[in-house]
Symmetry: C2
Subunit: 134 residues, 2 copies
């Protein structure tokens, strides 16, 4: 078997390119990693601190997935204790545009979604009443 990992999920996901991409950027830490690496190069430990909250294992998995998709470049410097640098590729830079558009939309309409949720939850709280529940 492959010596890498048993948890390889992304094998036959290419049914729809959109779903495929969403599986990537939808995974919990991917976007934060991309943001952390926007315009700069970081080493593993720096990344670990920059993303903050992510566990080692998961961070590694996230980085590997991004690297595998050609969005991330991993450079190993054979120094005394090994040094590894991570940087986004031009491909990832191109993704930045659509991603930012989505982020902007999210921020702009955040209030709408929050209030919609409130309304929905409130409606769910009163099954079949029109007057004051209390």
């Amino acid at each position: 078997m492959s010596p890498r990992d048993t948890e390889v999920t992304d094998q036959v996901t290419d049914v729809c390119p959109v779903r495929d991409l969403l599986d990537r950027i939808g995974s919990k830490w991917t976007v934060q990693v991309i943001e952390a690496l926007a315009g700069r190069t970081l080493r593993f430990t720096e990344l670990e601190r920059a993303v903050d909250g992510v566990s080692r294992r998961v961070l590694v998995r996230t980085l590997r997935a991004l690297e595998r998709d050609g969005l991330l470049r991993r450079t190993v410097h054979p120094t005394v204790p090994v040094t590894v640098e991570y940087a986004l590729t031009p491909l990832a830079a191109g993704l930045g545009g659509p991603l930012t558009a989505l982020a902007d939309w999210a921020r702009t309409h955040r209030a709408d979604m929050v209030s919609a949720r409130r309304a929905y939850d409130a409606a769910a709280a009163r099954p079949a009443l029109s007057g004051d529940p209390a």
Copy 2:
């Protein structure tokens, strides 16, 4: 306890609006449901057939999540057997823009990602070799 469901995940997700949105559109069937409802109104069973592959329970959950976020409007017609219609809200229509941009990017750069994966997987297959592995 709330009579709706025990599996309410989306309670305190508002740390980051982007993550929040990605949790929504990142869930497996959301985008397909949005696509299915683009510009038209469908009933539950129609939706079930349009999305194809989704199970009842999951479809309902997807619809509820979208409705809760104000992206979907659910209309119940008190006919003999009850009739329910689903339609996107203007809010969802606005989301269509950024989402399409992302989809376009995904389609455009699909080949890049696929070849990147091939290269990555090929490299992983030969741990420390330069010649022919066979």
